[in-house]
Point group: C3
Chain length 256, copies 3
């Protein structure tokens, strides 16, 4: 692991400080189930979300943004058109974008579409094990992750009980989080949006992606310790992300 | 009332235990206002929600699901197409589905559409008094409920201060809940989704429907006792549903 | 300032009491990010929200409503059609409606569309500084607000750290609120919906608009004092609005 990752917790605090000062704009093409929680996650971290899908104006919104999220949780004609327009602008501007291929293991047409998006060079792809298998046609392990990262030139962020983040050369595992996070909708979607925000203020994609997931995992762990269930976790993780500081990150992070 | 209903509270605990182990998939065609709260209700109970509407892939999602919810809170061309495709698969698979005819008392075209869906044999219909009148062309009382249940072969679940659940032969009234529940959006929608989840793991439709509403009402009552208002009730009911156990159900249930 | 505004806090308590008794129906054409929070804000205040967009039935919903909100947070063909149909009914019925021109500073086509809606005589327009500049082609200050109010015959409600509300003759500034409100999505959208609800039960548009923003600001301030971050603020402001009473308003209001 390179030098920056060995001190990921304090690097994460630095990136978060930058994010709070610069307030990057993150345009999100995401599913309607996840929109409000995703917007609140970005606002809590210091970023400015926008979420319009209209073909007439998405180009302008993306041109004014600092990062882009494409989440496939709702796979409809409107969002596919929006994604095509948004990706054209993102490519022109060299803007980082994150792909979240939600539920592609449940839908063959969605998996095919996700593969076509991978060819348009996302800076990072965040997914779970079943989604990785559907996208990469391989069981996820350290080797297949690195192989797929090399193939796609994207950072691959596999989330679950332990998160694995890899580019073609480096990888890191993150062991923070809380079991209740799996009982709240849009947690993964929000983590992907946060990754886009981190990519807007940190040039190294692996560092940005790992830092975003670490911040989210630590916030979830802090909130989980206080929560009475998934309802209070959902608002608690927003509070914890807003309050997240260097000491909490360094003391709580479990990075390998 | 048949034997199982006389012990509805402990039967509900059993069904909930099954639900937590089997984690049934519930596909929801529902309005965008209710989506996040509905997904979080299902996750808190142990079910796995999916909510896509895309014509290209809804068939696959429903085929992989264990129950289906059709909620008319947003009545648009996209959702009508989605419902048609979903119901075709549900009929082929003999899958239970729940109809929630939101606000059909406010919109004549929506009421006509709801009646066409009733003809496609929902296992249960959850609605309020005004919606029952618009659907069944009769004022709701014990007699008209049973009559309508006989006509439609569906369990009719009329919710309000007291919930009434009837099939053509049996009926039960449930007196749990909390007044604040009427001040939070999507409570009825979430109760309908929970009914679909219960139908996925319990073969008797009346028992499944009554148990789902009992679980939701008891969770609401527990949360209402602790809440400072409708905002804390909304997250509290999710926490209470997640934590709901046999003793709380048996001690709190008011079933007649 | 006219007599009613000098006692805005107690007038606000009166309007809120009327709202809780009359339970006006407010139809909202709003973006999917804001829908659930907006519905919960209206319900907490005592109003009944509806949010359908379907061309087949929106006319019926608006005809049965007491006020209308048009929020441009999602600017798509479906919502533009819905707005056209809704405004026709609102004009026929002399129904008050509120325009919320979200993010028109980020999108030229959206600004052009917003200007076309202003010509259809909203009773109030709620916006932030950047949105005012895009709509009125002028920097916001006391003079330009009054000038624009005279031009449009609408009450102009400029929200920010201090809220300014003006019609062509009177203006008031409101200094309540909490910094965390800027970190939660849909706060402005919900304030606009609440303004529509207040317009349904109070004939003087300036009083109604100022009272709605005062109620929302005081609720936010009460919630902010108790919140651990933006997550708990979001549910806390709903609780505070539900519980808002005359004494809290009078003791907390900072009106000039």
């Amino acid at each position: 692991m390179h030098a920056p990752l060995s001190e990921l917790a304090s690097v994460t605090a630095d990136i978060l400080a930058r994010l709070r000062v610069r307030a990057p704009r993150v345009h999100c093409i995401t599913n309607s189930v996840a929109q409000a929680f995703t917007a609140n996650t970005l606002l809590a971290a210091g970023a400015i979300p926008s979420m319009t899908l209209s073909a007439d104006e998405i180009g302008g919104f993306v041109a004014g943004a600092d990062a882009l999220l494409i989440n496939l949780g709702t796979f409809d004609a409107e969002r596919r058109e929006a994604a095509a327009a948004a990706l054209e602008v993102a490519a022109d501007e060299g803007m980082p974008w994150v792909l979240d291929p939600v539920f592609i293991d449940r839908s063959a047409p969605r998996a095919i579409y996700a593969k076509s998006l991978v060819a348009q060079k996302p800076r990072a792809i965040r997914l779970n094990r079943a989604e990785f298998t559907a996208l990469a046609d391989a069981e996820p392990d350290g080797g297949t992750l690195i192989h797929y990262a090399l193939d796609t030139l994207a950072v691959i962020a596999l989330t679950g009980e332990i998160d694995l983040v890899a580019d073609g050369a480096r990888h890191v595992s993150l062991e923070n989080g809380h079991p209740l996070m799996a009982r709240v909708t849009a947690m993964g979607c929000a983590a992907s949006a946060l990754t886009a925000a981190f990519l807007a203020v940190e040039v190294d994609p692996l560092t940005a992606t790992a830092a975003a997931l670490l911040a989210f995992g630590v916030a979830g762990e802090v909130a989980g310790a206080r929560a009475s269930g998934p309802g209070s976790l959902a608002s608690g993780i927003i509070d914890a992300l807003y309050a997240l500081d260097h000491d909490t990150l360094v003391q709580t992070a479990r990075v390998r």
